[in-house]
Symmetry: D2
Subunit: 472 residues, 4 copies
């Protein structure tokens, strides 16, 4: 009934042909382009991508943390294939066991880590999960307005763009009536208040606290202790913002202010979730419990766009958030939940927390050595788990050097670095940060020490190639 | 490196156990619940779903048209598996051939059907593609406000909810500053203006046209011919609205008004696209060309949430909509594009247009016979291609009977109908329509005549079971 | 202490000098300009304006009904002067007797006419009173969105512009997130549904009612009977819209729909209040009670911009709307309340209802005779009380003829018409209506029969001057 | 024709009767109530108010600066009466000489003080003038969003409330889609950044400047230097915020940042305009030129709510802001413009700048002596011209003591203070400030030294009455 075989395969198109078609038929607006023309890849495995000529690239970004468990992870591939052969499709108004089991595993993780009961709600794509969280917040607080961080990123739907700091994401798209109030993030290396972490006394939290001091500061009706803002959206470690790690007690102090004025805390773990920062959820490193937690990306190791939120029972129980409150065709699609369930099983069977902290420490040590070697190129290195950062700076050791950062990135994409053993290859990096001068390094969790050594060696090659006079 | 085998499988959970977990850990708000408790399914194939006891259900909704090419379509399953083994993950800022080839095929389909050049832009989930279209509209027209149809459905993100008619989708979620102006759809069986299609002279378009007659009608600055509304969002055949089919010339007349005032036409083909209504795109049945077309669902036969938009070159070329205009981690994920490409190949190799129109005619003939048999139960049957509708009404043959519709649906889910040959089974239906009294019938494109006969026989059984005194 | 005398008066400026200064220092955007250059006036009295050369103009618009009680009404002038000498200034947080007495008189008028208790809340300028009413509506209904009429006018603040139909008033000023949904007004002479009043069965109300039929019509959550719209803003007789008078039972039928869905009725009496349409409040002609009533203009006969709202006790009592809910420096300024109080006293002492209905009938009779004489120029005449309308049309007797209307208006301003007795003079008219082809005639309540005769004679002169071939 | 005499006057109502009527018929929401019940006044003259028993109250707030030129100023009263007898009413689409002459005088004042050409646009009520300015800003910048100060006050229409800091003014009235971003004002006595003015290096401006440093700070698209905010709304000296006077160079530094990013400066002079702070416009003390200036209140010495804006020619010339751009019935009402013109003449004839600075210095010296006497009661005194402030604090000399401030105010209203010469009387004060602990002192410009002495003596009496243990 179904045609079982395709027409004989057309001859493989050349890259030039593909680029011509891309130039004619593809929107360029659906993602960023850091290279012109963009690079094609054809295969992937473990920590590596391979281009159409078979050249190997060591990858230090793992699809912005979506493929944390390694490219082409065999176990997860098999889980996907098994569901393809069992129940590949089902309208989400009907149930299938994997959905329920996955929800339970996530729910139990929250009970274990935060001691809170709640429920899990699925969707596809991180931004749609953020939109679901906005619905919960708007319903519960009766407020359209949210706090969020400068440097924060929560997606690019209209609703998510309103709480994502960059005005560039909104500028061309009309008025945003629900635009968030953006609060400086504790980016201590470049403190927004020009303080030093040692003696600032958490000045940034105090500045935030001041907003609530009188009605004339604009956000609180002091008479009723009612805030104009429903929730504070946070990434525990800023992703696109440059893997910025806040002081250990920051969120504890911030949460006190939020609690005082009944403002919800929404924790966006789309990039840091699933052990990127050591613990299952990044915020668990900071001693506070979110009211809502948003996850995606590595939930399926990138094999399905499944995303979701967990929310406290009081916010999401069926009395307040009944069936039909929202909907998405693919919300708990069977392939995605089967993958998510397998990822959660892997997480139960493997002590990723220990493993990621250990590997992270080793990687960071190597980066710090590199920084010592190139103080006029690398201004800051930091990391929590395998969320690592390296800030490229000017010869003064501090001023952001975006242009150099771009050149290092582009050089890595050429594929002619020395991989050792006579092999030529490249390195795939990701650039982020307020000044676009930060390498946000998110390696495969199964990266080997040898690969770490290689990574640092490749950085060394790249720095030498791109800077002449900055070696000390 | 990756653990290759999971722990020995835990014993299979009972349905009761699963339901308890679902009750504790799952949000009920992420989809609709028509049954209490919802039904579990475990396998699917062709036109059938199978529950945990192996009972067979004939499916007439195919995941709301997401699985139009049949459950567990082997060729598409193989395409997915092949990509799992080749390039299952890749950050979308890098290119892979399947993305480009799929964009080209969709672009060329637009050139062929509408004679228009444009580009394709991917995302995941229909609502996110709708959000992308809103960005294009808001940028091009400098307008936040849109027209859309009463009965229209475009998704449940905040932005999509603003242009989706049902106020229930907005009520609990605060103020929507970009709420659309909703225009009556030409639902001729229940004409919103109480006209008859034979002699109404397309009264509904004339009413819409009147909005532009003077500045005091509220939407046009007559002096500058500038409209307050940027685009009109349409489904050529309303999906959730009850598979309502407009008069043949409706869109042609509507488009004249839109063109006169430079209002864009955005065609949401998420449910009707990929031949559901015979032609590749539903709107191609009606002789007008959209400015933007949104697609999703059957693009991958439901195996990946890939979605996207096509837009005219002037709206989306890189000069006006450059790289970085928007972004989504999974936008053109490799598994989705490989599936989309295979679906487009199948569509090229098979004359679905002819096949779907023929099957649709046969199915509709059977439904019309049934209507003749039960005029006090079935008020209207209609269809275009394999988008079919059957309206359940009261004994007067016209008043919507939602309660009976619900009972027929629920009875079908019991799984104890006579499938013939001594086999017991059920039928999975979908309910839609303004009054929730319409079966929106979207069968597998490969449905056999025998299955059609069975479907009608099962309807007959269901009507007899649920109505006593209405057989004539 | 205060300098008691000014410098010796500067010589009187010529009109040319004034126009040059106006061209340099005056914004033209603060009102309409129908004449280029605009005309200067220097004195007024009774029904007449006088220009700088002393030429007399019969006025048929009385400052759009602000000066209904006659220009330079001596009694009111004396009341103003008396307050200037007693308490010309006082911060509104302190009380003065006139405020209280005026509020009482208005409150009692509502008890008498509508049988409802409520309170009066002052402000200055009609639009600010409308803004106050919006606050009450938004607080009580928790809804930002309102219904209002096509052709309706409620002022030009941003909030009032959002509920005023003309898009021209919004176009250049960004996005209006609270834009009303505009409903066709029962403008039966040009029925928006092309019906005839005799047998339409109040089709327009039925169309409005349909909005509430299913959730898919976009404005009602049928499950909770909660509407997306808080209130319906109406003018009982449209002012700027062209003095359009609805069918007698229209508002009764409309109110039933509103009551069913708990939608408030806000009655804007800024132009029709204080007996313009015979009864104290225009809506009192139509048998329904408003939830909020807005007034202004003739409250002080134009001698002070005092305005205000009356609202039902449940909406405005101090428990729900306490001190400090809003504020305006001049809200109940002493000069305005003294004038308002004197106007209310005059209204108590004079049977304006009878007087205005009688004079209105006489004036309308004269206009109808004129219409009979010029059927190719005058398409419709109508009136309620002294709110009269005359629609200028093309030779077909129906098509709006804005250009002719403008010419008649301009000709009247020339000041060279024959006033009788050898005197030359002019006539001041106001143009309104959806097509800007309606003379909205609002004479001084003390207009004499002789002045009415003169008015019609002047119209006759104007028509003869401006049309050659349309006399029949 | 007009009834010339009213019915014989009803007997004068008692205060008790009036209060009962007020309780039944008056909204309490249209202004603040600091006293319960509010106090009635019946006459005013010079610097004094008189209650219904004839008790004299020295007034130090002059209707929040609306009656700066003295209560019942005879020359202005005569100007009003003269216009009542000449042209008391005229539709604003027609011109009268006083409008033009007043616009010229204001326009020329701007040329003189700031060297800028522009135009004047009238309206009534300060908030409506603010709304007009918002229209200019929204049109010119294509931006709905504005910056404004914490502690700033610009009125209470919905649009003005969106840029006025206090959330209490918005809380009950739904979502405000155009809510401003509020920036800390340089309130150095209680520096929002805990800095000291001597060595802060204008830290507050630097913090504001940081917002524009990267796109991730949320307000600037660095690539296009386009800001998300159209204008910055300022009061040069905060009115309701507590007569807070910024450092001399503050606005110069702020303006540099605004100019760099093409953000307009809108100067709200409603309270400080017309010499309250010495110069004709408050901002003229600070060396920067506004793009738009808003005025009201003292323009007519409170005898008419006339208000208006002046804007630079490029923002308001008829090409960009033509006739009909906005409208208000009373916009340039003849009584208001006659009064405004007379006020401007008085300002030309009197050197108020010198006079107000001198009297202000004398008054402030007296307040500072009082502060020295009561350091545990008075925390700060400051002033510019006759805009003076006195901050009531706790025994620590710094903590705001709102409760004491309220008691002093209430005690002053009792009318039993010793006025000297055996006369008993009271003092009318106004309370403002972020913590509601500031007396904002705005005396009559013609206040005598004797009255100043009396004022300070009355303060002394009030402090002694309300504090027992805080005299040192």
């Amino acid at each position: 009934m179904t045609p079982q075989s395709a027409a004989p395969n057309a001859p493989r198109l050349t890259e030039k042909e593909l680029l011509e078609k891309e130039k004619k038929y593809c929107s360029w607006g659906d993602t960023v382009h850091y290279l012109e023309p963009p690079k094609f890849f054809e295969r992937c495995e473990g920590s590596n991508l391979y281009d159409r000529e078979g050249v190997e690239f060591l990858d230090l970004q793992m699809w912005y943390s979506a493929a944390s468990f390694g490219y082409k992870n065999e176990r997860l591939g098999n889980a996907l294939k098994a569901q393809v052969d069992k129940l590949p499709q089902l309208a989400c108004q009907y149930l299938h066991s994997e959905k329920v089991e996955l929800a339970e595993k996530i729910g139990k993780s929250m009970e274990r880590l935060f001691g809170e009961e709640g429920r899990v709600h699925f969707n596809v794509g991180g931004a749609q999960a953020v939109e679901d969280s906005l619905k919960l917040v708007r319903q519960h607080t009766k407020k359209n307005l949210q706090f969020a961080f400068m440097g924060g990123y929560h997606g690019r739907t209209l609703g998510a763009s309103a709480i994502t700091s960059s005005y560039r994401y909104r500028r061309r798209f009309g008025h945003f009536g629900d635009r968030a109030h953006f609060v400086p993030f504790p980016y201590c290396y470049r403190c927004p208040y020009d303080k030093k972490p040692d003696d600032c006394g958490m000045h940034c939290v105090k500045q935030f606290e001041k907003l609530f001091e009188t009605e004339y500061n604009g956000v609180l009706d002091v008479k009723t202790n009612e805030s104009e803002y429903g929730a504070f959206y946070v990434e525990s470690i800023q992703g696109t913002g440059g893997y910025v790690i806040p002081p250990k007690d920051y969120f504890k102090e911030l949460k006190k202010v939020l609690d005082r004025h009944k403002i919800l805390l929404v924790d966006d773990e789309i990039q840091m979730g699933f052990h990127r920062a050591g613990k299952l959820w990044g915020l668990a490193n900071f001693g506070v419990t979110p009211d809502i937690l948003v996850f995606g990306k590595a939930l399926t190791n990138g094999l399905n766009p499944l995303s979701g939120i967990w929310a406290k029972e009081k916010l999401i129980n069926p009395t307040v958030f009944p069936a039909g409150s929202t909907h998405s065709t693919f919300s708990s699609n069977t392939l995605g939940t089967a993958l998510g369930l397998e990822v959660m099983k892997i997480c139960e069977e493997t002590d990723f927390e220990t493993m990621v902290f250990e590997k992270g420490k080793k990687f960071l040590d190597r980066l710090k050595s590199l920084q010592k070697k190139y103080p006029k190129v690398i201004g800051d290195t930091d990391g929590l788990g395998l969320a690592l950062r390296m800030e490229i700076v000017g010869a003064d050791g501090y001023t952001p050097d975006r242009e150099l950062c771009d050149r290092i990135f582009a050089e890595g994409m050429k594929g002619d670095l020395d991989l050792g053993g006579g092999k030529k290859g490249g390195m795939v990096l990701d650039v982020g940060g307020y000044y676009k001068n930060v390498f946000t390094i998110a390696p495969n969790f199964f990266i080997t020490e040898k690969e770490m050594d290689l990574a640092v060696d490749l950085f060394d090659q790249l720095i030498r190639r791109t800077t002449k006079d900055r070696a000390r």
